[in-house]
């Protein structure tokens, strides 16, 4: 993986410090910003590739930054860090164009994994046929219990098509297998946001919302992939 230029934006000095230390071996350059003003001034000067973005700053809201970035710097991969661990804010961030989200408190490992899968995927994204192949590969990997490999494929799909409902759905399944139901719900809901008609995500969200989780996981099929990507 190419080492990206990373900007870490958080008003807490200690977070900036620890995050930058955790990522220092994966980055070509790490920049730090403690306020929204600083973010914009750095973005003006530096070719930032990945932005770790907190959602709360003394001088404004991280969501506004996300919205503007979508227009001004669409090439930047944004990973949102939030202390409000609810599903709503995560779904919101992803809708506004974030590639991934991390809920505080997080560990260095989860930071690195997120960066690897999201940024690594970006390099691999190519064509629509490729997308179909990757979705197929991701399903195979999940069945083979190779979850990181599956996630990498899916991130690549999302890098090409940020509104791929099957990719979000499969990411949700991966989170569910990892016993992280909250994140799983985020991804299922993102899948539904991407394509309201996408049945498997609807079924999975309904299943996970009830207890005991009855029914089986819906992986979706190649046909549904074609329908939603055409």
């Amino acid at each position: 993986m190419k080492r990206p230029v990373i900007l870490i934006a958080d008003d807490e000095h200690n977070i900036r410090e620890t995050v930058s230390q955790a990522l220092e071996n994966m980055a070509s350059n790490i920049l730090l910003a403690g306020s929204i003003a600083e973010i914009w001034s750095i973005l003006e000067k530096e070719a930032v590739e990945v932005l770790f973005l907190d959602l709360r700053f003394p001088d404004g809201d991280g969501q506004d930054v996300l919205r503007s970035l979508h227009v001004t710097h669409p090439q930047i991969v944004v990973i949102v860090m939030t202390a409000f661990g609810d599903i709503e804010s995560a779904v919101n961030a992803m809708r506004l164009g974030a590639a991934d989200f991390l809920r505080k408190p997080f560990s260095p490992q989860s930071l690195r994994q997120s960066l690897a899968s999201v940024f690594g995927a970006r390099e691999k994204a190519t064509t629509i046929d490729d997308v179909m192949a990757r979705l197929h590969a991701a399903r195979e990997s999940i069945h083979a219990k190779e979850l990181p490999a599956a996630e990498e494929q899916l991130r690549a799909v999302l890098a090409t098509d940020p509104l791929s409902a099957p990719a979000f759905n499969l990411l949700g399944i991966i989170r569910e297998i990892q016993r992280n139901n909250t994140d799983a719900q985020v991804f299922y809901r993102l899948a539904i946001t991407a394509d309201l008609q996408y049945g498997p995500a609807n079924a999975n969200l309904e299943r996970i919302g009830t207890w005991p989780h009855s029914g089986t996981i819906d992986f979706g099929s190649e046909e549904t992939d074609h329908v939603t990507h055409s």
């Binding site: 977070i15 995050v19 202390a83 661990g85 505080k104 408190p105 260095p108 005991p212």
Partner: protein
């Protein structure tokens, strides 16, 4: 005079009167009979005798003048008939003046007979049809005299008969008079008496029934006139005494009721909680000042009584009161479900209500008491508290992240240089960090549940698969500690619950038990149906909970000694969840004999 004597007296007079009338009638009728009898006796026979004599005399004259062959024999027969009639008349001398007349007739007849006998002899001397003048004159005179005498006798008797008849008629008239006048006056008297008596009887009785009606209508001051000195007067007196006693009793009762009412009014107005009394028609009969303060400007007028719906348009409260009055039992509801926002309140105010039934001695509800408690402040404080807890736990997350990251990074970069002891220190720090994270997220969960930010999704839940899931979650932990986790299966109807929240309760209880039971210990989960609810138990054969902790074990941060970590919030969260389901949770524990946590859930 008593009524009885009066009746007897009245009818006695009438009876006497009638007796008198009867006697007088008899007395009047007897002379009437006598009179008729005397007419028959005194006159009729004399008249018929006179007629007989006249007839005989006529025959004698004819025989005498005819001068037949057997004159003597015929004369003898006629003579006997005349004498017989004359003796009849003689025997029937009854009237004054009759006797000389009869003697006169006898004398004259004697003279006539002598004359005839004489002339009969002489007739043989004189040829037939030759009666000389002097003789003829003599015969005519004699016959005339005799006839006159008889006719006089007849007339005397006829006259007398007419007089007697007139007398009888007079007597009859008198008898009628004597009978009719007292009879009618007696009748009138009895009629009058009956009229007076009935009026005297009926009038007081009617008055009494009227009075009784009034008394039963509540007019106890009614009095009856007591004047007549008889049984009715006595009855009236007793009646009056009864109404006096009734009145006294009522006045006494009213005083007591008023006193009791004043007391209860005083109590009601001095209570800080709002109190509304409701009758069976859902009308507010009484509202204390505190309730008026709480509910704002509600005017309570006595007519018509305002309905509860009007003064308190809160659907849950109205439903609760209505169903309590109908079913005769107050549905138990957890505190939070009995809080409502006061209608028309600005700024918003909140009240918590509780409903109690008022029952009559037969245990039938005759009304309800609604107690209203102002929980606005409490709600504000609670809101502030959960806001604070939420903000605090958010704020805690940032330093937690920094610390966690630092420790992980330290561990990564330094682990090869560290001794086992210092590596142990880092391990401790990591462990405690995990605990802190759990604590923060539990705190957040608890405050969310308490502030109602977590909405419960109630649905039909079958217990069996839910418990199976819990068993699966804990399988590896139990194996690690060599603890047996038993599920005592039982027929349980579907529950009405939020499945994921109930799973959390079970998870909390099992992980608690798991923390306390020794190696090779046991944990049992079972469930039983009790009426409309299901009791779910989590038992263990661990060391039990000391008595002094048992009552406070569900408070937050309350942990029994010997706990192997945990946030100290699990039971508090469980309690909140169970409460939100309308159930309760409790613990029974004998030190050294294990603990048993039970919670109840409604069936669907």
């Amino acid at each position: 005079m008593t009524l009885r004597t009066r009746i007897l007296f009245g009818y006695g007079i009438a009876m006497t009167l009638f007796t008198v009338v009867l006697v007088m009638a008899i007395l009047a009728l007897v002379p009437l009979g006598d009179a008729t009898d005397s007419i028959l006796k005194e006159n009729y026979r004399s008249i018929s005798a006179a007629d007989q004599m006249l007839a005989s005399l006529q025959e004698e004259i004819i025989v005498f003048l005819a001068q037949g062959e057997d004159v003597a024999a015929q004369m003898r027969t006629l003579d006997a008939a005349f004498l017989s009639a004359l003796s009849h008349a003689t025997a029937n001398i009854t009237i004054y003046g009759e006797s000389p007349l009869v003697s006169k007739i006898r004398t004259r007849y004697d003279g006539w007979r002598a004359f005839i006998l004489d002339r009969r002899e002489g007739a043989r001397v004189f040829p037939a049809g030759r009666i000389i003048g002097a003789d003829a004159r003599d015969i005519i005179d004699r016959v005339q005299d005799l006839r006159n005498g008889i006719i006089q006798l007849r007339k005397l008797n006829t006259d007398h008969m007419h007089a007697a008849s007139a007398e009888a008629k007079r007597l009859a008239d008198r008898a009628v008079l004597i009978t009719v006048i007292p009879g009618f006056s007696g009748l009138t008297l009895i009629l009058l008496f009956s009229l007076v008596l009935s009026r005297r009887l009926v009038h007081p009785i009617r008055a009494m029934s009227e009075a009784a009606r009034e008394i039963s209508a509540g007019k106890l001051e009614i009095r009856l006139p007591e004047n007549p000195n008889d049984e009715l007067g006595e009855l009236a007196r007793e009646f009056n005494r009864m109404s006096v006693e009734l009145q006294r009793f009522r006045d006494l009762n009213i005083e007591e009721v008023i006193a009791a009412r004043k007391q209860s009014d005083a109590v009601l107005s001095s209570i800080d909680d709002g109190i509304v009394l409701i009758d069976t028609d859902m009308n507010a009969t009484q509202v204390n000042p505190a309730a008026i303060r709480l509910l704002g400007d509600i005017a309570i007028q006595p007519h018509p009584l305002p309905t509860l719906q009007r003064i308190l348009p809160v659907a849950e409260l109205n439903d609760a009161v209505r169903s309590a009055l109908v079913d005769g039992i107050v549905m138990e509801q957890p505190d939070e479900q009995r809080i409502f926002q006061v209608p028309r309140s600005d700024p918003k105010r909140y009240c918590q209500y509780s409903v109690e039934l008022i029952r009559n001695p037969e245990d039938v509800p005759i009304g309800a008491v609604i107690v209203l408690r102002d929980v606005t402040r409490l709600k504000e404080v609670e809101h502030l508290k959960s806001e604070f807890v939420m903000a605090a736990s958010h704020e805690l997350r940032t330093p937690l992240t920094s610390i966690g990251m630092s420790i992980e990074l330290l561990n990564e970069s330094l682990s090869e240089f560290l001794t086992d002891r210092t590596r142990g220190l880092i391990g401790t720090a990591r462990e405690e960090l995990v605990r802190l994270r759990t604590l923060v997220s539990d705190l957040l969960d608890l405050s969310k549940i308490e502030s109602g930010r977590i909405t419960m999704v109630f649905e039909e839940v079958s217990l069996n698969p839910l418990v199976e899931r819990i068993l699966a979650i804990f399988r590896s932990q139990c194996e690690a500690k060599n603890v047996s986790l038993h599920w005592v299966e039982n027929e349980i109807p579907p529950l009405r619950a939020d499945a994921s929240k109930i799973a959390l309760v079970l998870t909390n209880l099992v992980s608690n038990a798991l923390r306390y039971v020794p190696d090779n210990g046991n944990i049992w989960i079972d469930a039983h149906v009790f009426g409309q609810s299901v009791h779910i138990r989590v038992r263990d054969d661990g060391p039990g909970i000391p008595r002094e902790y048992q009552s406070r074990i569900f408070e937050r941060f309350m942990q029994a000694p010997g706990s192997g970590g945990g946030s100290g919030l699990g039971l508090a969260i469980s309690k909140e969840i169970v409460k939100a389901h309308g159930g309760i949770i409790w613990v029974e524990s004998d030190p050294d004999a294990g603990s048993c946590f039970t919670f109840t859930l409604p069936t669907s």
